[in-house]
């Protein structure tokens, strides 16, 4: 149990940083683009930042794929489009078009559908009572995380959140409690 909590926490962290680097890279690219025609040394910093974030994300992606099924991890990355949409609205005052807002809802719906599929697989596996519990557990959590971020922005995605949130959140917490600390290091080596 603790081990699967630990691995869920790692997956969530990897996902969050992937999104962070994606958004960071896009911000750098935009800044580089908008300072390109000015004689500003900063443009080099932004270009470097764009590539640095890109490489870091690639590295994280490899380690994410070690722990997560490709058929789950890859669709999850589509949430990045929404984050970039939100950030470009906040930072650069780029109004999202209605098409993008509808598209964003589709992306969330798609990710939710896949999480439903994963839950079904986990239920099947649970009823047969056999292997790989740690592969099924984490998957319900990651996609609830990304949605909380764009959720702080005004209008985009109203109804989707509540679904998996309630029971997955408390699930991740116990792993961080000191009582379980002793168990985590062997997991860390894994």
């Amino acid at each position: 149990m603790t081990r699967s909590n630990y691995s869920a926490a790692v997956i969530i962290l990897l996902l969050l940083f992937s999104y962070l680097f994606l958004v960071g890279g896009q911000i750098c690219a935009k800044m580089a683009g908008s300072t390109l025609d000015t004689p500003d040394r900063m443009v080099l910093v932004f270009i470097f930042g764009t590539y640095a974030f890109f490489m870091l994300r690639g590295l994280l992606w490899i380690f994410l794929l070690r722990r997560l099924k490709l058929v789950v991890a890859y669709p999850l990355m589509s949430i990045g489009y929404i984050l970039v949409l939100a950030v470009s609205f906040v930072l650069f005052r780029e109004e999202p078009t209605p098409a993008k807002i509808i598209g964003a809802m589709f992306l969330i719906a798609g990710v939710l559908l896949i999480s439903v599929g994963e839950n079904r697989l986990a239920a099947q596996r649970g009823s047969r009572g056999n292997s790989k519990p740690d592969e099924a557990g984490p998957e319900t959590k990651p996609e609830t995380k990304p949605e909380t971020k764009p959720g702080t922005k005004p209008e985009t995605k109203p109804e989707t959140k509540p679904e998996t949130k309630p029971e997955t959140k408390p699930g991740t917490k116990p792993g961080t409690r000191p009582g379980n600390k002793a168990e985590t290091p062997p997991g860390a080596a894994q």
Partner: protein
């Protein structure tokens, strides 16, 4: 025009194959035996080829976009989600359900809508 579309198809193909290869290579990484073993295990053929094709794909995308509208390009990007889910199941034997396929199709729809004006 044909050139542009075949570039897009090739892009989807390269992206998909790249992701499959990276997944294959990623599970071979050795974390336990120190930094040398880590680096050496990260230089496996799967990862190198996978990274190469994932890096190559955007070039084709940019080439295609010099002829086509962005919305067309986005649809093809969306197609990658479908092909990754299907090929992940068929070639990597990852377990999926109809929900996974439906989800990928919905993402494809979302990205197709994305750039409609």
């Amino acid at each position: 025009m044909i050139k542009a579309y075949s570039a897009l198809v090739l892009m989807v193909f390269l992206n998909t194959v790249g992701q499959l290869l990276v997944k294959r290579g990623a599970v071979r990484i050795v974390l336990r035996n120190g930094i040398t073993a880590l680096v050496r295990s990260m230089l496996n053929l799967y990862l190198l080829l996978g990274c190469a094709s994932v890096v190559l794909a955007p070039l084709l995308y940019m080439y295609a976009l010099s002829f086509l509208e962005l919305s067309v390009g986005y649809s093809f990007t969306g197609l990658t989600y479908v092909s990754v889910v299907l090929s992940g199941h068929l070639l990597l034997h990852e377990r999926i359900t109809l929900y996974h396929i439906a989800g990928a199709l919905v993402i494809l729809a979302g990205l197709t809508i994305w750039n409609i004006t």
